[in-house]
């Protein structure tokens, strides 16, 4: 049973590391927007603005 004297502190250290990592993520804006980043790869690149201007030939 004495093994728990090692394992439990170890688990607490891992817990602390996990919380530290999570806090780091939160502070670095990883959790601010959970919806948009998933869609970014799906969106087409917008055409360069210069090319569009020529097409429209504004008066």
């Amino acid at each position: 049973m004495n093994i728990i004297l090692v394992l439990i502190p170890l688990s607490l250290i891992l817990l602390a590391a996990g919380i530290w990592a999570f806090f780091w993520g939160v502070n670095h804006a990883q959790f601010d927007d959970l919806d948009t980043p998933a869609l970014i790869p799906l969106a087409d690149d917008p055409p360069p603005i210069a090319a569009r201007n020529e097409d429209d030939a504004a008066p």
């Binding site: 004297l5 607490l12 817990l15 919380i19 939160v26 601010d32 603005i49 504004a58 008066p59």
Partner: protein
């Protein structure tokens, strides 16, 4: 120097007397300051005018006890911050809206505003200022709406007063809001995760302890697990549960009991009792209950915050639309970049493609395409032509655009929409106010009940006294009750905004569910204010196309609706012939010469005067030459595309539909037939319309009137529920209960459905909360509910309320409802 009795003469090198500290903020008082505040009947030294005012003001409110109760000194009253900049018209233009009666309105974001007690304090403080007319505090959105008389008080004084209380005011500014929201959201997420992980660990160790209790455990191992439990629970209580303790402290400070008091008391009791048991090696620890309690409550709060933010999202999205900088063309033709707030009406600005309009204005170029989707919900870019209005916040799709500024800052359509939504959020519905009052009384009752339970159990069985009273305290927390109304209303307001319906008055939702009759105004409501060409009957030898081209040539440049309808029917300007010697006969028609022939277009008697003969149809215009009629052009009013479906949907909901029109019998009848409305009145002046509404109401009907926000305002005021159409600058002034910003009639049945859902959800929430509290308290008092079960019960009831409210979703409006009539019209006119 005053108050020498308290001074141990020991001046420090900086010239300050360290022993003399400010009664309010605790800072040292400069030597040359001899201010004092009269609090609780005694003179107290203060460091500055700001602290003097704050202290005296709190004293006069009878809240002087605050100084005895507090354990940290207040924020130094912000005398230093200078709000006079807010009196500059250049700045006010962005944030302040002026009304005709000399009053002005501003929406202020308030830092540190967290609870009902704060809002009460702010409300009391500002209302006492002379010249302040209305103060509406929304703790949910941390915003305060203030209406004041410009002649009596300056905005800076009001902001100053807020600052004196220790709340930092930020006149509404989308960027400041963002940062604050972000900080709040991040902190909440961290706390939630800490509580969750802590709870898992604590429960794991608790399982060991429970198992040990049954199977037998060596006391040393048991104590080891208890100490570990204490270790993981401490951050949960000390860090994650902070909001509850802070909230409880605020409630105590202002003597307004609320939920946070019971929650904080319960957490502290559970934790301290377990701590004690751990130290002395007692019978039972409750670390698992404590951390689970905190976690579930934080979960509920987190969901509530998400719902709240989602509701606020609409407003923020709108507010963020307005750009900060603009390109102004100077008198010498050069461009300069200036802040949007420096713009003046009449300035000429250039807006690049992809950029947003900085102000409302008029297009100077030939044409452009703009995306007004956030205002109208219409994602297809709209074409705008020279002289037409452009709306601030709309995005230029083809540009660059040159425009003349007409309205700026708070006078723009965008700003008035934002303000409408905010007003709807700030105004708390009656039910919510009642709910709060009930909650406060309820908490007091719960505390008494807890004490009674403890006393009774101490008499019967002291060993169970603690568990039972704890269970009562936890189980009876009226969180679910307090949450039910605001969450449901916030959800409803944001869902409505998504379908383009703004709710300036919070009671509108309740009233909307009770209506049994919807009355439409005809012109501008069921119909658009333009005509459409529905048929061309050939009377001479010319083809339809030829006739149309002649007609269009004659009507070229004419502003009459007839002319517009005909021009619209002819595709492209290239096919329009050149007409000469155009003469307009008012009220009759137009005469002109094309390729040597004289033509007339207009009323039958006028057009046929060239050849003799007549017809008498009101909706027919005749094109004729010297020999006789060439064609009969039939026009009619354009129905709104979605009018028919909206009316069908309203009927399907069991509502009677009626129409009031000031127009002629024939026109009203034509529209009524097309929309299948049997109950209509024509030739009705506003007074007649009002009388009709009154008649319906006398017969027991609850009437909703749909009309043009501006023209029909007086009639709208006579209805139980006034629904105004249209975005426009007058939007904010309209007295409507609901505003259809999307200009779509089918939003009405959708909104009503939403209102019904909201009320149903609200009722469920309230029933649930009341039933839960009344069922669980006796059980807990008799010791039948262990504290951990009480924690689950209470959190589940709150979660139930929040999740149930999330069911209020924006109803789906189909966008493919191009009415059959429009198709017919398109076919009738060969291109």
């Amino acid at each position: 120097m005053r108050s020498g009795r308290r001074i141990r003469q020991r001046p420090d090198p900086g010239g300050y007397d360290v022993s003399r500290t400010c009664f309010h903020c605790g800072e040292t008082i400069a030597k040359d300051v001899a201010l004092s505040a009269c609090v609780n009947g005694g003179e107290q030294p203060v460091c500055c005018i700001g602290c003097q005012a704050a202290a005296e003001w709190i004293g006069t409110l009878g809240l002087g006890d605050y100084y005895r109760l507090r354990n940290t000194t207040a924020e130094r009253a912000v005398e230093a911050a200078d709000y006079s900049a807010w009196d500059r018209p250049q700045l006010q233009r962005l944030y302040v809206r002026n009304a005709a009666d000399g009053s002005a309105e501003v929406c202020v974001l308030v830092e540190g505003l967290r609870c009902a007690a704060c809002s009460w304090l702010i409300d009391r403080a500002l209302r006492d200022l002379p010249g302040v007319r209305t103060v509406e505090v929304n703790p949910g959105a941390r915003r305060v709406r203030i209406v004041w008389a410009r002649s009596d008080i300056a905005l800076s004084e009001i902001l100053h007063r807020l600052a004196q209380l220790g709340y930092v005011p930020h006149p509404r500014n989308a960027q400041a809001l963002d940062a604050l929201d972000q900080r709040e959201a991040r902190a909440a997420l961290k706390r939630l995760v800490v509580a969750g992980l802590g709870m898992m660990q604590a429960m794991m160790y608790a399982v060991t302890l429970y198992a040990g209790a049954f199977e037998g455990i060596d006391p040393a191992t048991r104590d080891f697990f208890r100490w570990i439990g204490l270790l993981v629970t401490t951050p949960v209580v000390v860090y994650a549960a902070q909001p509850f303790f802070i909230g409880a402290w605020r409630e105590l400070r202002t003597r307004a009991l609320g939920m946070d008091t019971t929650i904080a008391l319960a957490i502290a009791l559970i934790y301290l009792a377990s701590l004690y048991e751990t130290v002395v090696g007692g019978a039972q620890v409750y670390f698992d209950s404590a951390s689970m309690f905190v976690f579930l409550l934080l979960g509920g709060r987190y969901l509530e915050m998400r719902a709240r933010r989602r509701a606020a999202d609409v407003v923020d999205a709108l507010a963020r639309l307005q750009p900060v900088l603009a390109q102004r063309r100077r008198a010498d033709g050069a461009l300069e970049t200036i802040g949007v707030h420096e713009l003046e009406a009449g300035d000429i600005v250039i807006v690049a493609e992809g950029a947003a309009m900085p102000a409302d204005g008029m297009l100077l170029g030939m044409a452009c395409e703009v995306d007004e989707s956030l205002l109208t919900g219409e994602s297809v870019p709209r074409a705008r032509y020279r002289g037409e209005a452009l709306i601030a916040g709309s995005v230029v799709r083809s540009g660059p655009v040159e425009m003349r500024v007409a309205h700026i800052g708070a006078d723009t359509v965008l700003s008035s929409i934002v303000r409408l939504i905010e007003r709807a959020q700030i105004q708390r519905p009656h039910a919510a106010v009642l709910g709060d009052r009930f909650a406060a009384r309820f908490v007091a009752g719960v505390l008494v009940l807890t004490a009674l339970t403890a006393a009774a159990w101490l008499y019967v069985d002291p060993s169970r006294a603690f568990a039972a009273s704890l269970a009562v305290l936890v189980v009876a927390c009226p969180c679910a009750f307090a949450l039910s109304v605001p969450v449901a209303y916030l959800r409803a307001a944001s869902a409505l905004a998504r379908i383009g319906v703004l709710m300036p008055k919070a009671e509108a939702l309740e009233k909307l569910t009770r209506i049994d009759r919807v009355v439409f105004d005809k012109t501008g409501t069921l119909t658009r204010d333009r005509l459409e060409l529905v048929g061309v009957e050939i009377a001479g030898k010319r083809s339809v196309n030829e006739c149309l081209r002649i007609a269009a040539a004659l009507e070229y440049g004419n502003a009459h609706p007839f002319a517009a309808a005909i021009r619209e029917a002819v595709p492209g300007e290239r096919s329009i012939l050149k007409a000469e010697a155009l003469r307009t006969f008012a009220g009759a028609g137009i005469e002109g010469r094309i390729a040597g022939h004289r033509y007339r277009i207009g009323r039958a008697d006028f057009a046929l005067a060239l050849s003799g003969g007549t017809t008498d149809d009101d909706n027919v215009i005749v094109l004729a030459d010297e020999h006789g009629a060439l064609a009969h052009l039939r026009v009619r009013e354009t129905l709104r595309e979605e009018a028919a479906t909206a009316i069908v949907a309203l009927r399907a909901q069991g509502l009677a539909v009626a129409m009031l029109s000031g127009d002629s019998d024939a026109r009203a009848l034509a529209i009524a037939v097309r929309l299948n409305i049997t109950d209509f009145r024509s030739r009705a002046k506003p007074e007649a319309k009002l009388r009709a509404l009154e008649q319906w109401r006398r017969l027991g009907s609850v009437v909703a009137m749909v009309g043009d926000g501006v023209n029909d305002a007086p009639v709208l005021a006579g209805a139980d529920v006034a629904i105004a159409l249209g975005g426009g600058t007058q939007l904010a002034q309209s007295s409507a209960d609901l505003v259809l910003a999307s200009d779509r009639l089918d939003a009405i049945p959708a909104a009503r459905e939403l209102a019904l859902t909201t009320l149903r959800v609200l009722r469920q929430n309230l029933y649930w909360a009341v039933a839960y509290n009344f069922a669980s308290i006796p059980l807990a008092a008799f010791g039948l509910v262990p504290p951990w079960l009480a924690a689950i019960g209470m959190s589940v009831s709150s979660l139930f309320v929040v999740l149930n409210s999330l069911r209020i979703a924006p109803p789906h409006i189909s966008t493919e409802q191009v009415s059959a009539t429009a198709t017919v019209a398109a076919e009738a006119v060969p291109a």
